[in-house]
Structure formats: C-alpha cells, structure tokens
C-alpha cells in the first residue's frame, strides 16, 4: 500500500502542473554540480573524460547504467541481473565487482552506501532520472577519492530551473515493465524549487520453477529548494536537496548449470524462490555556492542513509557435518556422485535430506555516509603566468552495521520449508571510518601548453568492532595516510590537434576490518593521447598503462565470504588503448546523422606466479589475464534525427572474458572452480525511435537486445546468468 501511495504521489507531482515552458537550467549553475564542467574544459583536459548529456540519455531512456556506459571507452562491466539493479563497473581493468574501485558520485558527492568502510555499491542511484553522466579517468581523478586507481562516475540530477518546467513520462513494455516519471519546478523571485518522482518496475524476464515473482519495483522521490543570494558582484545561492528511494527486487545470486542455460537461459531454480532484496535510501544535502570573477567555491554538507535486507540462498548445510560443495561447484559439475543430490534439491526435483539443508542468509545492513566538502577554483596570475588553482577538502564519516542471520530450509515438494531450527546470527559487526581528504592542483597556461601538477592526501581512521556477545575484544583501529601525486601536460599543437600525457598514483584503501598487514592497493598510472576536434567531428585516442604494485581484491558475499576479506596479488600490469570518434552530418530539411564510435583494447598480466584463495584467482601463472576484463570492446551509436522524428541504433560488442585468472584445472582441491571458463562474447543491438507529436508531446519506443541474443554474461556469483532478454517498450512524454 505504501508503495502504491508513493508511486501515485510521484505521478501526481506532474499532474498538478499547468505551465508551459520547458526551460533549460542556466549553464553556470550546472557547472559546479558537474565534475567535468564546460565543453571547453572537456576539450582541454589532459586525460580521458566523457560526458553523456541529457539528449543522449533521452535517446534510449535506459534504466541500466551499463547500457548508458556502453558508449564510453575504457569501461569494463560485468552484467549480473539483466536490469542493472546492482551494477558491476570498472574502468581500465579494475575489477568491476560491485563497482567498489571507482568513485560513484551524485551531484559531486560520494553516493555509495559507505564508500570507505564498505565500498561495494549495493545502492546505485536511479539512472532513469539523471540528466547527465560523467566519466573521469586519468590524472583528473585525484580530485575525487578515496579510490584513484580507476576514476570517477558522476551522476547529475535535474537542476532547479530558473523558470517553470514540468514534464510527465509514462511508459510500458514487455514483461510487465512500467515507468512513471514526473517533475515540476519553478522559480519565483529568489526562490526556486524542483520536485521529481519516478517509479520503475518489471515482472521480470526469468521464470521460477514452480512459479513465483522474479521482478522488481523501484521508487525515487527528490525535492530541491534553492535560494538565490546573488549580488552584482557575486553569484551566490544555497540549496537543499532531499531524496527518498526504495527497491524491492526478487533477485538471486543463483544461476544455472551450462546445460540448463542451453535449454532455457531464463529459468530460475526452485531454491531461489524466497530470494529478495529490500532497501530504502534517503538523503539530505545542503549546498552553498559562490562565484566571483576569479573564483568559485562550492560547499556541500551531506548525509545518506541506506538500510537493506538481502535474503538469498547462500549454500547448503548438513546436520551431519562433513564437506559440503559450494553452489559454484555444484552448478559447474552437477552430475558427480557428490554434487548430484544437491543439484536435485536446488532444482526442486528431490526433497532435502538432513545433509542438504538450504541456507538462506539475510544480510541485513545499515549504512550511513555523511560529510562536509569544499571545492574551490581560483584563477590567478603570478610570476607572469596564468594559473587555475583547484583546491578541495572533505571530512567524511561513514559506517556499516552488519546484522547478518541465517535460516535453514528443507526443499519439500519443490518449495522451501523451514527446518524448524532457530535463525542464527552469522556476522554482527560494525565498520566505521573518519576520513579527511584534501587535494590541490595548479594548471599553468603557457601559450598553447597547459601544465598541471596536483596532489591528493587521504587520512583515514577506521574502526572495526565485532558486536557479537563475548567478542568485545575482536576489534581493530587502523589509520592510513597517503599522498597521491598527479602531473599532466596538454599541448594544443594546432587549433584542431592536441596531444596530452599524464601520470597519477592510484590508490584503493582497505576496509577497517582488514589487517594492517594487508597493503593498500597502489598503482602508477600513465596515459598519453591525441585529440582532434573540428566543428562536425571529434577524435580521441588514448593509450594507458597502469602498473599495480599491489592489486587487491575483496571477496564479498557474492563470492562466498560472509564478511569482505581482502586478497593480494602483488604486481599486475594493465595497459590498453581507448579510441573514440564522433561525427555529425547535417542534412537538408533539418535532418542530421550523429555517429559515435568507441573502441577499447585492454591487456592485463599478473607479474608473478602465486596461489590465492580468492575464488577468481586460484593458481595464477605469471602472464595470466585479470578476470572479467574483455580484450576488445566496440560500440557504434548512430542516429537519424529530424525536427519531429529521431531513430537511434546502438550496437555494442565485447569479447568473451575469463571467469578466473587460473587458466586450467590442476586437480588440486584448491582449484578455482571456474578455471578455464569464459563468458560468452556479447553482441547487442538496441534500437530506439521517437516522434514529436506536438511541441509538448513526444512518443517514443525502444527495443533492447533487438537480436534476442541469449548469452552467458557471467557464471558468478553462482552459476550461469543471462543477459537481459529482448524487451520492447513504448512511452509518451508531455512537457507542460
């Protein structure tokens, strides 16, 4: 009932509107929310930065960030649930697992549930409401922490308008897909506000054995109020942003055996029938902005709360003890003497015996993330040179409280039935971090050369405490201090040609629970590129080389560890090439053809032979590749856009990826179960079209996965998982 009310409220926001003009926010107010800023900054950045603007986002109306980022070079993604509810995003070869090594921001503020204490991004903002998506890699990354090894992803929400705006967007589609999205904003004198609501859901594209829900429902509400304090001398305002969102998704970590996938990739086993994610997120952000002729300062005070209950099958337990195969082992070899009884129970073909109790873990967690950050830009001139100085400081505090429990079930007649045993706590602990970070950079303009040197400092104090009774002495206080330098040079060779190069140091901290003896992840990151820009086309070519002195990975719930455990791989090299080509042909009659082509080639090599218990590594030979990193990725986005009609087609390709760094099974019991296995190569086409019915009304439709390809995107967490099936959706937007 509560959900229906909030959904109706979201739709009602727009229904109450009566005004007409569709106004764009003033460019100046966008730039400080955006981390990239203006197109000029984009063109003169000594590094790889990408901006997907509102028009590009509207072309496909994607709800999944993975599909949005398909057109950005250097982004590696491991798909999981098909909808992108919990995306796995990495840049330039860092592990995509739960996007834990990139900085995810909303309006320039860290938005992960607890970016320092538990960086796995189990919460991801509602992509459907964003008006821009920005990707930063290379030396510019040091302005955003704590993770500097890969880069930053900033999602930009709608700005408070300077005049009245309103829009409603209703869409429906296959598998019970629906979207209702509305916003209304206005400005009166010095007061401005915006309210926005969106609800997205689907019945799901998979089918549970013996029936059941496999869909999801997400709701997001946001309100902003802005008070303009500008004077003749300064642009100035304060703004408050509040948000609430929730999700219920009948998702699971359980996939299929390869044979079952070949029969029906969209099947779900009976044992996953009770799996469900429930979360709530709310946020409050206070912003002050002031800008003069030669400076601007943005101050943000923020608080995010995130609570979740994540019920899902974790594995088997036996009342008789003994060695029990993991779900991954069962689904990889379902026919062996040892595994066959478990497989029969998973699929509901057999009832559980006392040796095959199904364990459902409820990984209930409470997070908060809060802080105060100040970012400033100064335009100075001294020593006869022009300087742009960027400064920033942030105090950040976040926490995760784990209250994990496990409940045992029997499989009975194809459905889960409680064993009668009490629910038991499994992990009851808290990780908390106080972090102060600072950065400074100076860009010196010297004729056609921009020379930038910068540095970032992270001062992290973490606390871990086991809260289980009798475990009071299981705690750790840990402090990490690090300085991360960056330098870059940009040279405008001709008005159209520019070259650039840069270096920065990569860093990923370890969470407070990890022993201080586990080194933080560090890398030396180099890149060099060439950019060609003219009025109707743009080319960018960047080579990168990341030299990890210590690559770390954490094994989370999805990989079978109850509490994140960190593993180290030592030296690893990742290098590659990113290419982007954009062009627009302007035709007669107001028609134009935009084209965007991207290509990424990535190579990775472990620099030593070692064994690791980390499930994705196992027995690693020197020279082996990092898992879940496609060597070649390619995308073509082409459109035909007129005054009333637009048609866009996005084709993307990604090579198959190794599921493990171990290349072959050795017969050792410690083998990485998925050694030698690879995901399918992925080729996908999405098609969208829109028609402007009236100046205010737009009809649109899209087909995702046009070819209805059925591919294994991953065999993790447990078993083979499919890409999103072919989906068709139509919608209408009306701007009042």
């Amino acid at each position: 009932m509560h959900k229906h009310v909030t959904r109706l409220l979201a739709a009602a926001i727009a229904a109450a509107c009566h005004t007409s003009a569709l106004a764009e926010p003033a460019a100046a107010s966008v730039e400080h929310i955006s981390i990239i800023g203006s197109q000029q900054q984009l063109d003169t950045t000594a590094g790889s930065v990408s901006l997907i603007d509102e028009a590009a986002l509207e072309a496909y109306e994607f709800d999944d960030i993975a599909r949005v980022l398909a057109t950005v070079p250097g982004v590696n993604i491991r798909q999981e649930d098909g909808f992108g509810l919990r995306p796995n995003i990495g840049f330039r070869g860092v592990t995509p697992e739960r996007s834990k090594k990139i900085n995810i921001m909303e309006d320039g503020v860290l938005i992960g549930p607890a970016p320092y204490s538990a960086p796995a991004a189990y919460y991801f903002p509602m992509v459907s409401k964003m008006t821009a998506v920005e990707v930063t890699k290379g030396p510019s990354t040091i302005a955003y922490g704590p993770n500097t090894v890969a880069g930053a992803l900033n999602l930009v929400t709608r700005q408070v308008p300077t005049e009245q705006i309103a829009e409603i967007d209703i869409a429906g589609g296959t598998d019970g897909y629906y979207k209702s999205h509305a916003y209304y904003g206005n400005a009166v004198d010095k007061h401005g506000f915006l309210v926005e609501g969106i609800a997205v859901g689907s019945d799901g594209f998979k089918t549970l054995d013996n029936g059941g829900d496999t869909g999801f429902e997400k709701i997001d509400l946001m309100a902003k109020y802005k008070y303009d304090l500008s004077t003749a001398k300064f642009d100035q305002y304060i703004q408050i942003k509040g948000g609430y969102s929730e999700e219920t998704s009948h998702e699971t970590y359980l996939g299929l055996t390869d044979d079952d996938f070949a029969q029906d990739p969209y099947r779900r086993y009976a044992a996953s029938g009770r799996d469900k994610m429930d979360w709530e997120h709310n946020q409050l952000q206070l912003t002050h902005f002031i800008a003069g002729d030669r400076f601007d300062i943005t101050t943000r005070l923020y608080r995010n709360n995130f609570d979740r209950a994540w019920n899902k099958i974790d594995g088997f337990e036996s009342s008789l003890g003994g060695q029990i195969p993991t779900l991954q082992e069962i689904l990889t070899s379902p026919d062996t003497d040892r595994n066959a009884p478990y497989y029969a129970v998973l699929t509901g073909q057999a009832d559980s015996s006392v040796r095959e109790k199904i364990v459902l873990g409820n990984n209930a967690r409470e997070y908060y993330s809060q802080g105060l950050q100040i970012d400033a830009t100064l335009d100075l001139r001294f020593a006869g040179l022009s300087h742009q100085v960027d400064l920033g400081a942030r105090y950040h505090d976040d926490e995760i409280q784990r209250n994990h429990t496990a409940t045992n079930y029997f499989m009975r007649d194809g459905a889960l039935a409680l064993t009668g045993e009490p629910t038991v706590p499994t992990s009851t602990n808290t990780e908390q971090t106080d972090a102060v970070s600072v950065y400074a950079s100076d860009t010196i303009t010297l004729a056609d050369v921009l020379l930038t040197a910068g540095i970032r400092g992270e001062f992290i104090d973490g606390e871990y405490q086991n809260r289980a009774p009798g475990r009071e002495q299981d705690f750790q206080n840990k402090s990490t201090r690090i300085w991360l330098p960056a330098v870059s040079v940009f040279y405008q060779v001709t008005p159209k040609h520019a070259v650039f190069a840069g270096f920065h140091q990569g860093f990923v901290p370890t969470s407070p629970i990890q022993s201080a003896s586990i080194a933080v992840e560090q890398s030396d990151n180099f890149e060099a590129g060439w950019r060609f820009i003219q009025s109707d086309q743009r080319v960018e070519l960047i080579g990168f080389y990341n030299d990890y002195s210590n690559l770390i990975e954490s094994c989370s719930i999805s990989a079978g560890c109850d509490t994140d455990t960190t593993f180290q791989a030592g030296d690893v090299d990742v290098y590659g090439l990113e290419a982007a080509y954009q062009r627009q042909w302007n035709l007669t009659g107001g028609w134009r053809i935009p084209l965007n082509i991207t290509y990424t080639h990535t190579q990775s090599e472990f620099q030593q032979t070692f064994y690791s218990e980390f499930a994705q590594w196992g027995f690693v030979e020197q020279g082996a590749s990092v898992p879940y990193l496609a060597e070649n990725m390619f995308s073509v986005n082409i459109g035909l856009v007129g005054e009333k009609v637009d048609v866009n087609l996005l084709a993307s390709y990604s090579d198959s990826m190794p599921e493990s760094a171990q290349q072959t099974l050795t017969g050792d019991v410690r083998d990485s179960t998925l050694a030698g296995k690879e995901t399918d190569a992925l080729f996908n086409i999405d098609l969208s079209a829109g028609y402007q019915l009236t100046p205010a009304a737009r009809l649109y439709g899209k087909i995702t996965n046009l070819l209805d390809n059925e591919d294994i995107v991953s065999r993790r967490p447990y078993g083979a998982r499919p890409n999103l099936s072919r989906q068709m959706q139509v919608g209408v937007k009306y701007a009042f």
């Binding site: 009342s319 003994g322 062996t336 038991v424 010297l446 475990r471 206080n477 990490t480 300085w483 330098p485």
Partner: protein, 407 residues
C-alpha cells in the same frame, strides 16, 4: 619552450618525491581480532612445545595409525575367510561373518580415535586420504550397490572410484546390511538385474566386493603410516616445528594444527553424532529423535564411535597418559591450573556417562532420548571449555569453521 621544460621537470621531480614517501598504515587491535595474517606468537611461558609435539607424535598419533593398520590387516584376513566359507553347507559362514564383523568393529573403534587426529597427510587435498578410509557422512548405499556389480568386470579399478564407494563405511554396508536388495531409488541408478539374482549369488558378490574394499583399506592405512613415520614423515615435521626450514614458523603453529583437529569433538561428535539424531539439530524426522540419522546405522556402532572420539580427545589432551607431556601440562605451565584440571574431569565425566548407557544407540534414541540429550550436555561441557578457556590460555586460534559457531 625552455620555461615549459623547466616547469615540467620540477613538476615531475615533485611527483617522484611524493610517490616515494606517500603511504603509511598503522593499527591496534583487540586480543580476539582474528583476521591478522601475522604468524601466531608463542605465549610467554617456559613450556617446551616441542616436547608436547614429540609426545603427541610418539604416544598418540603414530600408535593410533599403526594400530589401525594392524586392524585393517586383521579385517582383511577375516573377510577373506568369510568369503572362503560362504559356500560351505554348515554354519561356518555365519561364524566367519561374525568374526569379520567383530574385526570391523575393532578397526572402526581404532579409526574413531584417528578421526580426532585428522592432520597432515590425512587432511591434505581436501581430506582425500581420510575420505578413502572413511567418508561418513558422505555415504551412499546405492553407490555401493552399483559398484558391487561394476566390480565384477575385469577392468574395474576401485582406486579410481569416489570415496562413498570405498572404506569402512562401504564395508559396514556390505558386512552388516542383511537386506540383499539394492537401495537405489532414483530412476536409472539401480544395478541392472540385481534384485533378480539369488540370495547366495548376491552374498558372494558383496563378499567379493568386501575383499576389494579391505585390500584398498590396508593399502590406505599403510600409506597413512608411511606418511607419518620416518625421518621424512609428518611426525618428524611436527617435531621439527619452529626450527629453520620448518613449514611451521613457530612450534605453536604445529600445536594449533593439532588443536584444530580436536574440534572434531565439537562439530562432528557433539553436533552431527549426538545433536542431530536426537533432534536438537534438524534431522530427517524434523526435530525429534531420528535413528536413521545416526552415524553407524547398519552396525549400530554409533555409541562406541562417540566413546572412541572422547577417548581420543583424552589421549591428545594428556599427550598419551598422565605420565606424558600433554596439553594439561601446557595449561599448568601458563598458570591455568583450574582449566587443566576441570577439562580433564569433564572429559572423564563424558566418557563415563557414555559408557554407562545401556543398549544400542538406535534404541537409546527412540526409548531414552533424554539420556542422549544428557550425553550432549556432558560433551558440550567439554567443548565449551575447549573453545574458550583452553584456546585463550594457550594463545591458540579457533579453526575457521568454529569461529562463527553460535552455541
């Protein structure tokens, strides 16, 4: 251009300097913090842990493994004798079967001592050698039925078969199960034509398979002994713990490996062998007594197994007997005399109570479940002390499987 070069050089130099001196991490942690990868540090004491390890190897581990090898050989002899007399017209076959069953009981009792000593070669590669000798609870009557028939083929090789078709658990089925019909219930798994064969034919087939099983058992028992004894054996590895080139950086690590093995009493004896069949933990009957979930159902040897497990715990704790260097001496040396005395008394109490129970375990479970629950309490007294006072006083680490135990 020259100025740009100078600026670049300065910037790069600054960057290089910062790269070299950038990171530091420090921490302090509580006594129970368990994720440290630092090696265990010896507690401050005068106790010679090497003497404890030598005592355990010479007085407990190796004698147990040797005894089992002898028992396995005796079992092979009696099984061969049984098979030889199977076609005799008199009662000699029945007598021979009784002898073979007695031999099995003897071997099983010894093996239940070794169950509490699963370290080194027994634990390697996912407990492969242990599972070949005894794979419970990974057992399958149907798998044995299948292999009884498959073993009649010339090219059959038992050594390539999975553990549930081998070892003492398979022998229990072939020697004690009086139902000659196969136990396969899943379509397509039944041994073809088995139930149509004569009783005598089926007895001979099971006996022939038992001979293969005992030969395999003797080989594996000797493998175990060979892996432990001698200058290159694992017994010597334990004795040399802490010396240069040892795989154990400090002798306490080796002591910890043995203490890990002792947690068998918690996870298997207490939980799987007692709590599950009596219904404290869910079983196939729900949460009520369920004899079919006991360990040794065909021979009804479950109670003897439990007593053997507790006896082995006592031996390990004492390093043999009162005269030898044991964990009790270690506790006394670190000043925890109270735990040293109480733990031994609790072990003796649990053994005495188990020995006082009358009748087979299956009968106890159905007719006197309160007695089995009392046995559970007696054993829990022991395991609670082992998990807390024992571990903490000796600065040992809990095995990972017990760290999250929610007792």
């Amino acid at each position: 251009m020259k100025r740009m070069f100078v600026l670049s050089t300065v910037a790069l130099s600054l960057s290089g300097l910062l790269t070299g001196c950038g990171e530091s991490t420090s921490s302090d942690s509580g006594a129970q913090y368990g994720n440290s990868s630092d090696p265990a540090q010896p507690v401050d004491n005068n106790f010679n842990e090497s003497l404890l390890l030598a005592s355990l190897v010479d007085n407990v581990l190796l004698p147990t493994y040797n005894q089992f090898a002898n028992d396995a050989t005796a079992l092979q002899t009696t099984v061969n004798n049984y098979c030889d007399t199977l076609s005799a017209p008199d009662t000699s076959a029945s007598d021979a079967l009784s002898q073979a069953q007695d031999s099995w009981r003897g071997a099983m009792t010894t093996w239940q001592l070794a169950e509490v000593m699963q370290i080194g070669p027994l634990a390697e590669n996912g407990y492969a050698l242990r599972n070949k000798i005894y794979s419970w609870p990974n057992v399958s009557a149907c798998a044995i039925d299948q292999d009884v028939v498959l073993a009649e083929a010339d090219d059959y090789d038992l050594t390539t078969r999975t553990p549930s078709r081998r070892g003492l658990d398979a022998l229990e089925y072939t020697l004690f199960n009086t139902n000659l019909n196969h136990q396969c219930t899943v379509a397509g798994t039944a041994p073809e034509g088995w139930n149509n064969r004569t009783d005598q034919d089926r007895r001979e087939a099971r006996c022939a398979y038992s001979q293969r099983l005992t030969a395999d058992l003797v080989t594996n028992a000797q493998t175990l002994v060979s892996a432990f004894e001698g200058e290159q054996g694992y017994g010597q590895v334990l004795k040399n713990a802490g010396l240069p080139d040892s795989q154990f950086a400090v002798s306490l690590d080796a002591v910890n490996e043995i203490s890990d093995a002792v947690f068998y009493i918690t996870e298997v004896t207490k939980d799987a062998k007692i709590a599950t069949p009596v219904g404290i933990i869910a079983n196939d009957c729900g949460t009520s007594p369920c004899p079919q979930n006991a360990e040794s159902t065909y021979a009804d040897h479950s109670l003897q197994n439990i007593i053997a497990n507790l006896t082995a715990l006592r031996s390990v704790y004492l390093g043999g007997d009162d005269e030898n260097v044991g964990f009790n001496d270690f506790l006394n040396d670190v000043g925890d005399t109270e735990t040293a005395t109480r733990l031994l008394q609790d072990i003796d109490n649990a053994i005495a109570f188990a020995q006082s129970l009358n009748g087979p375990y299956s009968t106890l479970l159905t007719e006197q479940p309160d007695q089995v629950e009392q046995l559970h309490s007696e054993v829990k007294e022991v395991t609670d002390t082992v998990k807390t006072d024992f571990i903490q006083s000796l600065a040992l680490e809990l095995p990972a499987t017990s760290a999250g135990d929610n007792d």
